[in-house]
Symmetry: C2
Subunit: 668 residues, 2 copies
């Protein structure tokens, strides 16, 4: 029965794409403003497209290179690699294309019709990304499974897909992260601090680039990040299932095939549950924005957990495995709540309070908060690991990750909602649509900030579990070749790998932080030049050359994303070929630990600084423009590259390294 049913998966993916297309046509039909408004929106849209085009060009070269090398290993695996890269690229392109159409329509909806309609527009603008990401995964992984899922020996071909997705992700995440923060920091430092003009002021030449950056970083970057974890979790679970002994299989399922197919069955169900969740949001749009979005996610998750139970019954898989799904979903929620607490609760207010004694104490308390914030999420990941591996071995760990990511359709929609709402506010400000409109977009944006913080925590947790599963698959693949292979920690070969791995997150973070710094410096120079050389710019009598700023950010991002990408792809190859599979295995674990810790530290410190600034702007500790506020603005500026560039790169770094290791494992 199950062998023939698998053909449904890619078709379900096509159905998901059709839904996305349907939503897109509906959004396109909404009024998009005219005159200045539509002009601003076009600039943002075109800027994003310029960046995409340039990024795709460099990506093509890099992918061709890697794919060609892979060709010598296995033709099919190489083709799967290109398919993975293309899927991620297409998802990112579609998502960003629609987000930059939905942003201005959200502004107009807020202006013409009010909060409820604006929320719907922004959210459904985001669902196009959510649905595309989920669907491309089903089409790609599901399609490959149709062709190569019968034989446990062919399953490695699908690894190529994961590697393609990972490669695109590191370019999108790192490149997008550098772009967005270079533009943001540059525009803020000159605009707010030097020229004394407010945020999103149309006179500032960097403002359009800043808005482009939100799409490039938070839509395309985040999407490729989650897409990668989503595919990796499924593919790793399949790989673990393929290498399990029949004794191990019989403990938790009727057949090895059931276990290999289960991840796809879960993500397929997850897509349908996400669609149901979207309907809930639509119906609930008259509630507070935060509540509306939350009820969508919660109902999708609850339905998914119930459906998963019956899916497993149908596939003859043990309840133990279902409990792994439960653990993944539950763990994801805990991590999200912990993130919310540290970036929005008492620790954030303590940072705001510390601003009364100046910048130094803001920095110290923010760093301390970031460090403390790793405890609960990492313990949660460790708990999931312990529990699920007891329930169903390492396969259970993979399924927990799959469970956490199955409802990606709706979680990614909410992630993409954030930058759309943010953009909508920016457009309202630049076009001078007045306080009422701005208040609506601000309330949507505020919710977006919270969802972004939670989404980041969730992405880190998911990436950690996904790479744990890939590392487990790596060990199994190596062990299939060398029976005595072990990652014994007291073996100096392994321990050396752990040390090398631990360095990499620090090195990559340092590189990306410096990249933002130097790109922002170029941006600052250019903005200063325009204020100096374009007559009448500050008085509003002349237009800034926004395109030039977009160009600079694009140029810098493309130039600087190369080194981190090369480190991620090459370090497993170099270490594996030089020191062997044991050192490589140790390196993956060291890198995983370092990446998770640094990702949480940076995301949460940055998020807490950001919110502390906003908390003060609400009137606490002296309010806007007080010395406390100025201290917190510095905190926010420092946090920007941490939370939006270096931190998010960590997820991809470990996933890329792990998947490269898995692909080269048979050669070691």
């Amino acid at each position: 029965m199950t062998e023939s049913i698998r053909i449904i998966v890619p078709f379900l993916g096509l159905f998901g794409l059709a839904c996305a297309w349907f939503i897109y046509t509906r959004i396109r039909r909404l009024p998009a403003g005219e005159g200045e408004i539509s002009d601003i929106a076009d600039q943002i849209h075109n800027g994003a497209m310029v960046f995409m085009k340039r990024e795709f060009k460099i990506l093509l070269v890099f992918a061709a290179l890697v794919g060609a090398i892979l060709w010598f290993k296995d033709h099919f695996e190489s083709m799967a690699f290109f398919l993975g890269a293309a899927s991620s690229g297409v998802a990112g392109f579609i998502g960003m294309y629609s987000a930059t159409k939905a942003n201005v329509r959200t502004t107009i909806a807020a202006y013409n019709k009010g909060a409820q309609e604006a929320l719907r527009t922004a959210f459904f603008g985001g669902t196009i990304m959510g649905l595309t990401v989920a669907s491309m995964g089903l089409i790609g992984v599901g399609g490959l499974f149709v062709f190569f899922g019968d034989s446990e020996h062919d399953i490695h071909i699908i690894h190529g897909f994961a590697m393609g997705a990972s490669l695109v992700a590191i370019f999108f995440r790192v490149g997008g992260g550098i772009f967005t923060k270079a533009a943001d920091v540059g525009a803020d430092l000159v605009g707010k601090l030097e020229s004394g003009i407010p945020e999103d002021d149309p006179r500032n030449p960097g403002v359009i680039a800043d808005n482009v950056g939100d799409n490039v970083g938070d839509v395309a970057g985040m999407g490729s990040d989650l897409f990668e974890s989503y595919c990796n979790a499924q593919i790793a679970s399949m790989a673990i299932a393929a290498t399990m002994t029949s004794g191990m299989v019989s403990e938790i399922a009727e057949s090895s095939y059931s276990l290999m197919f289960l991840p796809l069955a879960l993500t397929s169900s997850g897509l349908i549950c996400s669609l149901l969740g979207m309907i809930v949001v639509r119906v609930a749009a008259n509630m507070e924005p935060a509540k509306a979005l939350r009820s969508g996610t919660i109902s999708a998750t609850v339905i998914f957990i119930i459906v998963a139970y019956f899916v497993m019954q149908a596939l003859g898989v043990s309840n133990m495995v279902w409990m792994c799904v439960l653990a993944g979903s539950f763990g994801g929620t805990i991590i999200g709540l912990a993130t919310e607490y540290y970036t929005g609760g008492q620790p954030m207010r303590d940072i705001a309070k510390s601003s009364q004694t100046g910048v130094a104490t803001v920095m110290i308390s923010g760093l301390a908060t970031g460090m403390q914030s790793v405890v609960v999420p990492v313990l949660t990941v460790a708990g999931i690991l312990m529990l699920t591996s007891t329930l169903a071995g390492l396969y259970g760990v993979g399924i927990a990750a799959v469970g956490m990511l199955s409802t990606i359709g709706i979680t990614m929609s909410i992630d993409a909602y954030g930058p759309i709402a943010d953009n909508a506010g920016g457009i309202a400000e630049m076009a001078g649509l007045g306080k009422r409109t701005r208040d609506i977009t601000d309330s949507l944006d505020e919710v977006g900030n919270t969802t972004a913080a939670i989404g980041k925590g969730f992405a880190i947790g998911a990436a950690a579990l996904a790479s744990l599963a890939i590392i487990a698959a790596y060990v199994n693949v190596v062990r299939a070749k060398h029976e005595e292979f072990s990652l014994e920690l007291s073996d100096p070969t392994v321990l050396t790998g752990v040390f090398i791995g631990g360095i990499l997150p620090f090195l990559v973070s340092s590189i990306t932080m410096n990249a933002v710094g130097s790109a922002a410096a170029e941006m600052i120079e250019e903005i200063r030049r325009q204020f100096r050389e374009i007559p009448g710019l500050l008085d509003g009598n002349a237009k800034p050359d926004s395109a030039r700023c977009i160009d600079i950010a694009t140029e810098a991002a493309i130039r600087k994303m190369f080194l981190p990408a090369a480190i991620a792809v090459l370090s497993p190859v170099v270490v594996g070929l030089t020191f062997g599979p044991a050192t490589l295995g140790g390196m993956l674990v060291g890198a995983l630990l370092g990446c998770v810790l640094m990702a949480l530290l940076m995301a949460n410190a940055g998020g807490a600084w950001d919110n502390a600034k906003k908390y003060i702007e609400q009137g606490h500790f002296g309010g806007k423009n007080s010395p406390s506020h100025r201290a917190c603005v510095v905190g926010d500026t420092v946090g920007d590259p941490l939370k939006d560039t270096s931190g998010p790169s960590m997820n991809i770094l470990i996933n890329v390294m792990a998947i490269v290791a898995l692909v080269i494992a048979p050669l070691l």
Copy 2:
């Protein structure tokens, strides 16, 4: 032959103490100033003693508790524990007592006789600490070896000594670190920024506490830190030797006994070489201070390496083991040079340059520098691990650590020289001895800052290798009981431990940073109160109540050091008893990785910020009181708790956890 020769070791220790006593009497005879000068010096000395006394009291309770529990495991081990704690305590007390006598004599020497005599006084003031640390180690470890070195079954008794030393170290390092930075940050924020009076101004009520803090943190804290690594490295090597099979022994030595005795033979030679190095410094004191100190260390190290060769020949130990000593010494030098580069080279100047665009860029570039600075030292540790374990198994790793630490007599002397020179400058300033004296002490202090940075890098490297050796010993001890015991990384039980271990450095750093923050806030309140309530204080017509400030810092340090100490001691016990030895082993490795990375990040970012500020004060980028300078002052303030409180705690955290694990290993 060798069995009877071991009695020499503790006597050599007594000889070292005699040398220290001799130097102390010579220093006491130097002029100590009179009137105001001697009054200031007495305040510092008495403040340090007050802190010590209070710290000893709380330590006594904690040690009695731990010792009592240990009593049930093994009476002798419990006694060894008390001996270890007492040795570290005595070393710290003697070192701090003499440092607070040498500081004022250095000031007077600079005032009366000039740079050469001042350098000698400061350096020989430091040698008392250096010699005491080395000697107490020989007396303690050597003495226990005389009694328990014959049987491989009794050798575990000596572990108690290491645990005692570690327990004292965590109290001294954490408590001292909180004291010194609470006082420093408090005095600076109110004095320099609010009241506009210069550093070390006698009107500032926090200045005496600040000077006390230098002794408490950098003399006693650093001393207990190195003492612990020094003893741990020796004891771990013995433990590894004791559990080696005769086959493994025969590959590198004539007998297992030779291998057990070798660490003591090396440290004994190291003491003599350190004494020779001190003579070199004395003779070279007419050179530049930096050169004089360096020639002392280099000659001690070179002589030691040569002597070590002959020691091994005499003990019938293979040349392979000698090469491990070489690797340790060479590696230590590389780590020191890397530290010097990041805190004093181009990266530091880049931070200074980034101050032109404000505080935010100073913070970002400093953090990025700290992150990047982990690469070379960690690769060096990994390289030493790989090389020495190939040469002589895990025993080689232990011996590399012993080799690195054998010349502790002179390296610790130079570490203690720093705060003495710093204090001398403070006293000169407070007593108003004029620019000429201040210039001399400043030049000595500057060298002290560089040596402190290098010393910190060295301490981290040594601690990392020492705990690697203890972890190896732990694995061997557990394996002696459970033959099939393994730390297989793909085993979720082990991996969970790695995650838990990785959290701890972040948690402890966060706690200690917050401790400094809140203690500094109390200090600030008190200093503000005194300026407000003591009439005539700011005009110099009234004396500040310095004792009250010392009291506050003491109180805060003692209160706040409890939690980190409890985490360090209890986490291995709780994890070991709950999840078993495999999870505990994983935890140690995760904690080791995290501690080393965070220690380097914090020490080097802090050091680089500190020096960037000084670089600007030399006239670059606008010089003193420019906006650039103000930005760097913030960087320095943020770096203070990182480099002097949280960072150094990392070394001890991992060592305490590892030694506790080793001690409880037979019970698991």
